[in-house]
């Protein structure tokens, strides 16, 4: 049982860190430009396809990852310059409609290019097996994802919390007008944030690709999870996104793995069999409702 808990906790950490890569870019887009980007999940999907295609062409996972992330960054730049710049001034309705249209276009374009079947993306051969840690075996590739996630999260945190650009970003998120009045070009700053966010999406998509299927529509479900993370953490807050990601990743993974077992011990068998999976799948939403009840602005509100 302890082994199961430990293993699932590691899975939760890994999932949480990947969620953070998605939520970080998304929360800044919300926080600074007050722009709803439903297509953020599509960047994740397209990034995963880019990585898979590049990895297949180069016959190397790592080259594929690098090329895919670069490709997604370029796509993000093009999208920001052509479309999103027009959207910031618009109301939320237009933003939702336009980014919803982007989802339709992205899903259908991917289906045209790569077909409706999931695309295979294999982890590097050296990482395909398990390694032994503290008396149990754990997949090496998942450990690498955790290491990657921790490294990127740490880097991002330093960048946002300690660097000058990070200071501007934080200032832009908490008061955009004042930041502009201080002479900072929020527009260019934002282009950089958007491109960076797109690259992080592709990184998450590429790293998760070997674990999940790279397929059409993979961005939609993960987008909702990123929303939940941001709601829990507080819009525009990187720290909130990190804490929220870890909470959501851990609670979701542990809930799915342990809740049915725990309920079976406490309830009659047929009630547990019905309630277990249901409760596990809505656990994070119940958590979100609970947090919202006490803190409607999330745990770390960026706009005081």
């Amino acid at each position: 049982m302890t082994q199961l808990v430990l293993e699932q906790a590691l899975n939760g950490l890994q999932f949480g860190l990947m969620l953070f890569l998605l939520a970080a870019g998304l929360t800044l887009v919300f926080g600074i430009m007050d722009c709803i980007n439903l297509a953020h999940g599509s960047l994740y999907m397209v990034g995963a396809y880019f990585v898979a295609a590049a990895a297949q062409a180069a016959d190397s996972f790592w080259i594929g990852l690098g090329a895919g992330v670069a490709g997604a960054a370029v796509l993000g730049l093009l999208l920001e310059l052509t479309l999103f710049r027009q959207l910031y001034k618009r109301d939320h309705l237009s933003q939702v409609l336009a980014t919803f249209a982007l989802i339709l276009i992205a899903n259908e374009a991917v289906r045209m290019l790569w077909g409706a079947q999931p695309v295979m993306l294999n982890p590097p051969d050296a990482l395909a097996g398990p390694v032994e840690i503290a008396g149990f075996f754990y997949p090496a590739y998942r450990l690498v994802i955790i290491a990657f996630g921790l490294a990127v999260a740490g880097l991002l945190y330093l960048l946002v919390a300690k660097s000058r650009v990070g200071m501007w970003v934080r200032a832009g998120a908490s008061n955009r007008e004042m930041t502009e009045a201080l002479g900072i070009n929020v527009r260019n700053l934002f282009t950089a944030v958007f491109v960076f966010g797109a690259a992080l999406c592709a990184l998450a998509g590429g790293l998760l690709g070997p674990l999940l299927a790279v397929q059409v529509g993979m961005g939609e479900s993960v987008l909702i999870l990123a929303f939940v993370v941001i709601i829990i953490g507080g819009i525009g807050s990187i720290r909130g996104a990190l804490v929220g990601s870890l909470i959501v990743g851990t609670v979701d993974t542990l809930g799915r793995a342990l809740l049915p077992t725990l309920l079976r011990a406490a309830l009659p068998a047929d009630a547990a069999a019905t309630l277990g999976p249901t409760l596990a799948s809505i656990l994070i939403y119940l958590l979100m409702a609970g947090i919202l009840f006490f803190k409607p602005q999330g745990l770390f509100p960026a706009r005081a």
Binding site: N107, I231, T274, F293
Partner: protein, 315 residues
């Protein structure tokens, strides 16, 4: 933006439209195009669902991205009624409305504590919760959905034929439109529109803003539930896909295409979107790209919706 006030010249127009719609099944049958009766019913039902979202969004100013939850809840309520032997529409439809309305009341009570982007994302997240709830509830069919045992009856009359169900959907839509037109002019409607325009002022005037909003939200949910119950009868299935967030997005697209805050906005949007779907999907399997590009074009070049091209908005 003000909710559309039906001008006097619109009344004859609405009656003419109603007569035309009433004659449609007979005309289609005479022309040998019975297949399109089902399609027309679908359009009417989605028009009703989009109109209920327009009440929340255009009338109440609440940007909900989780409206599909109530649509789907109504469908499931109808299916559950049928499997428990409640087949009379006069009982089953109000029950479906009550179930969806109660769900909206509880989601609204939590969501309406927040504003702006938060509200949009929270309604979306709660709707997803309802989606996962239905998908993992095995006794309600889980992934496969809950099939209906048959169609509703209406006080002894069977709604088994497609035209009968068409007329039921038409009656529901016409009643709801007439009701909402009245509501816009009534005290409740005036207050809710004033709250949309200036919430702080209405709060200062002593109006219970939260309560008005919540009632409007729950009413929208109940009407969406009515549409969902009708759709379940049309397709013979309450599917979890009805609650999926892309469905909320589709309803929203209908409202925006048709015109946010126009009485007939949802109707226009449903007609345009479903006709596009019907027409384009015959041409290519990749019609979603065309639809996406079209939507982008509407956002960038006609942001006030198609209905704005037909009439002025008062207010």
């Amino acid at each position: 933006m003000a909710f559309y006030r039906p001008a006097t010249y619109q009344k004859p127009l609405a009656i003419a439209l109603l007569i035309a719609l009433f004659a449609l099944p007979t005309a289609l049958t005479a022309g040998g195009q019975e297949f399109y009766i089902g399609f027309a019913s679908r359009v009417l039902i989605f028009a009703l669902a989009a109109t209920s979202l327009n009440l929340v969004l255009g009338f109440g100013g609440m940007f909900s991205l989780g409206h599909a939850a109530f649509f789907g809840a109504g469908a499931y309520a109808a299916a559950i009624c049928m499997s428990n032997g409640i087949t009379d529409a006069l009982l089953a439809l109000p029950l479906a409305m009550a179930a969806a309305g109660l769900l909206a009341l509880s989601i609204g009570a939590l969501s309406l504590r927040t504003r702006g982007v938060y509200f949009i994302m929270i309604t979306l997240a709660f709707a997803q919760m309802a989606y996962y709830l239905f998908i993992s509830a095995r006794s309600w069919g889980g992934d496969d959905g809950l099939p209906l045992a048959g169609r509703m009856t209406l006080g002894g009359l069977s709604l088994g034929s497609d035209s009968a169900l068409y007329y039921a959907a038409l009656a529901c839509l016409a009643l709801v439109i007439a009701f909402l037109g009245r509501l816009a002019e009534a005290r409740f409607g005036r207050v809710i529109q004033a709250i949309r325009e200036n919430e702080t002022r209405m709060e200062a005037l002593g109006y219970p803003v939260f309560r008005y909003r919540l009632i409007c939200f729950a009413l929208g949910g109940a009407l969406a539930g009515l549409a969902g119950a009708l759709l379940a009868n049309l397709t013979g299935l309450a599917s979890p896909n009805l609650l999926q967030w892309m469905q909320s997005g589709t309803l929203l697209v209908m409202v925006i295409i048709g015109g946010v805050g126009y009485l007939y906005g949802g109707v226009v949007g449903a007609v345009v979107l479903l006709s596009l779907e019907e027409g384009l999907s015959g041409l290519t399997v990749h019609w979603h790209i065309g639809l996406g590009v079209l939507l982008l074009g509407i956002v960038l070049f006609a942001p006030r919706g198609v209905a704005a091209l037909f009439g002025k908005r008062h207010g």
